[in-house]
Amino acid sequence: MDVLKRHNVKVSGRGSTPMLFAHGFGCDQNMWRLIVPAFEGEYRTIVFDYVGHGQSDLAAYDRQKYSTLDGFTDDVLEICRKMELRDVIFVGHSVSAVIGIMAALREPQRFKCLILIGPSPCYINEGDYVGGFTRQSIDELLEFLDTNHLGWSSAMAPVIMANADRPELGAELTNSFCRTDPEVAKQFARVTFLSDSRADLPRLATPSLILQCSQDVIAPQCVGEYVHRQLPNSRLKHLHATGHCPHLSEPAETVAAIKEYLATQQGETAHGG
């Protein structure tokens, strides 16, 4: 199957510089609904779903391939190759921030810069490192996902409803949003929350922006600061937005932070060129 079809790749925007948006654990490309329009004027915006999420091809789900983050990284690079993307501005949320780092390590020439929203290279506390979770609490999460599938599937069930309050959210959205196969979600959670890519951070040369929320349980402030220390050529921006999804709760603030950073990057590129 065509890779673009497999990942339900959607392209919009009037610019030429590609901006690739990668969703995190728990959702799909609709996560970016409130962000992408702000960039369509200047950039070529690209969104996609990981296999097993949203409207991707579930038949392409391969437990073996997606048993580590490498499988997801392969997919990101495959999309880039297929679309012949260069100088990509990669915007990754949560686990996708780490996937973006790994993709840029493997094919640095493809990426211009990385926007990392709520990144965490390791969720579990270890020695001096504070990831925010004990091993026990992560095990508990995975067990919750394993045993709670009645509640889980109820929350995951597609909801078709005309949304009077939010007309910008069409039926298509409410249809597919967060519609993840429970088995896929369980494995993605396992891969995400048990991953440890701390050793990879210092090797990254690609410039990056870290967006750190307030009161983010999943990626606490100390983790954002750690990532900033470890990533050469990175900037850290604190947001007022609370929780783990600033692009949903405070889209305007998120867009402004990204635009501000991209402006500085353009300047730097101009100097360099």
Partner: protein, 536 residues
């Protein structure tokens, strides 16, 4: 009557505070701005503490908090509402309370901040039921899985048993073939004396007896496996019984028993002639076996309405009531007395009953007790065939009626060229001798490969081939032949094999043989078969 607005407010407040579910409202950053008494009680915290900037997610377990931030929050933001999400509340005493949460998102408007309105139901019981349901489903799945595994095991065991029986019968029949073949050839030899002829007859009889035992074993296994198939046609029952009597007669003659029959030639039943003959042969052989010298064995047939009764009566020593009850069970023999020796596996009556029942009939054993003789009554439905003559003619033939008028001995295979394929030298030799003696010109091959060469060279009229051979078997051989050039491909072929099951025969026919003979093959049957095929 107008109700006092203050009263309405009081009612609203009371309903809010004492609702059977927890209510709370949060701001965009998740902090709680309003809770009802029920929710505070659920958590065990003071209302004041909850309202001092606590976020709803902070009241959840770690797992719930992650789910809240990755699913619950985004869904609520994008969709405007969320229903029935299962969480665990972490109470002030650190106990967990299973809850179901619904929420509605109210965007900011007219100076009012964005609000999230949350309803929390105690789901302790529901979680318990869910848990039990899941447990029950898991157990059912495990039980189904275990049952499937057990069934597979049993099926595989049954299959290997069937295969073992087929193999045993093959192995047991193959030597019989050589024994019977040579006996028949030697019997024709005019140079042997009476003692030697007597010896040959004993060998032949015993070999045939063993062949029958093997047949019984196979039949029984087929019946048990439900694989016994009848080839039903319209059968003149009298002829079938007659043929059975003929088969049992030598043994009766040897004991000096009188064999009498009263048959009705007009009665036609729908059945498998071979299997019906087997039933009566079994009953008659039994009767002969258990009747002492000088007694009699009788077969009496009578139509009763739409049924026909066949009684096989003997003057033997009869059966006890106790034995009659179990007469048709497998491996049951009336051989408790030392005065009489019995043979066989005790399968005959059991097979007979199964066969009769497959024909829609019944079988019963009767006896007045020891010393009074036995009667076996077979009751079969009569086929609906219109017979013009109303009068039932009863025949009382004398003892020595021949029922097999076709003189097989006279068939000649003069001018017929036969290719015999058989890997086993003894078996090959017997077939060659039998066919040569009948006048055929015989070439032999020890393998399929050799046979294919000879086919080209000798252009035989008829192929007689074994099935089980090393390398290419007889199925493969005939398939190859059928795909060859015009002349060779149409050769008449008979499969000669110790695979005696019905499905083996079907398989041979499907592979391309016209006839299938089971080892040990009767010499005359082989000759007649070859002659018939050559004539076509």
């Amino acid at each position: 009557m107008a109700v006092d607005p203050e009263l309405l407010d009081l009612i609203r407040l009371e309903l809010f505070e004492n609702a059977p579910c927890g209510y709370l409202a949060t701001l965009a950053d998740g902090s709680i701005v309003q809770v009802n008494q029920t929710f505070a009680a659920m958590t065990g915290y003071e209302r004041q503490w909850l309202l001092a900037g606590v976020r709803f997610a902070e009241l959840l377990t770690i797992a719930g908090r992650i789910y809240h931030d990755t699913h619950f929050g985004p869904l609520l933001q994008m969709q405007g509402f969320i229903k029935e999400v299962a969480f665990d509340l972490l109470r002030s005493d650190q106990h967990r309370l299973p809850v179901l949460v619904n929420a509605i998102h109210k965007p900011a408007s007219e100076g009012r901040p964005a609000l999230t309105l949350i309803t929390v139901f105690d789901a302790t019981d529901r979680r318990q039921y869910e848990h039990e349901l899941l447990l029950a489903r898991r157990q059912a799945e495990q039980a189904a899985e275990a049952e499937r595994a057990a069934r597979e095991l049993a099926e595989s065991a049954a299959r290997s048993k069937d295969e073992f029986l087929a193999m045993v019968s093959h192995e047991l029949r193959t030597p019989l073939n050589a024994i019977l073949g040579w006996t028949q050839i030697l019997k024709e030899d005019r140079g042997i004396n009476d003692d030697q002829l007597e010896g040959l007859l004993v060998i032949e009889r015993n070999a045939q007896m063993q062949g029958n035992l093997i047949g019984d074993l196979l039949d029984m296994s087929r019946i048990i496996a439900g694989k016994m198939r009848l080839e039903v046609q319209e059968v003149v029952l009298g002829d079938v019984i007659d043929a059975a009597i003929d088969t049992a007669r030598p043994a009766a003659d040897a004991k000096g028993l009188r064999v009498q029959k009263v048959l009705d030639p007009t009665i036609i039943v729908a059945g498998d002639p071979g299997r019906l003959q087997q039933v009566f042969w079994n009953l008659l052989t039994n009767a002969v076996k258990f009747t002492p010298k000088g007694g009699f064995v009788r077969a009496v047939m009578q139509r009763v309405n739409s049924h026909v009764d066949v009684r096989v009566i003997d003057s033997g020593q009869g059966m006890t009531r106790d034995f009659i009850e179990h007469a048709f069970e497998r491996f049951r023999q009336s051989d408790s007395g030392e005065t009489r020796k019995t043979q066989g596996l005790g399968l005959g009556l059991s097979i007979a009953r199964s066969l009769v029942e497959m024909h829609g009939g019944t079988i019963h054993a009767m006896s007045q007790g020891p010393g009074t003789g036995s009667t076996f009554l077979v009751n079969l439905p009569v086929a609906v065939v219109h017979q013009p003559d109303a009068d039932v003619e009863r025949i009382h033939p004398r003892a020595a009626v021949t029922t097999n008028p076709a003189a097989v001995g006279g068939v000649s295979l003069q001018g017929i060229k036969v290719l015999v394929v058989e890997d086993e030298a003894d078996a090959r030799d017997i077939v060659r001798r039998v066919l040569t003696a009948a006048g055929a010109e015989v070439v032999t091959a020890a393998s399929s490969a050799e046979a294919l060469k000879l086919l080209d060279r000798d252009k035989p009229h008829v192929l007689v081939s074994d099935i089980g051979m090393p390398g290419e078997d007889g199925y493969e051989l005939i398939r190859k032949i059928r795909m060859m050039g015009e002349g060779t491909a149409s050769i008449r072929a008979v499969a000669l094999t110790a695979f005696a099951r019905l499905e083996d025969r079907t398989r041979a026919m499907l592979a391309g043989y016209q006839m299938h003979l089971t080892k040990p093959v009767d010499a005359r049957e082989l000759i007649v078969t070859v002659a018939t095929l050559a004539r076509k």
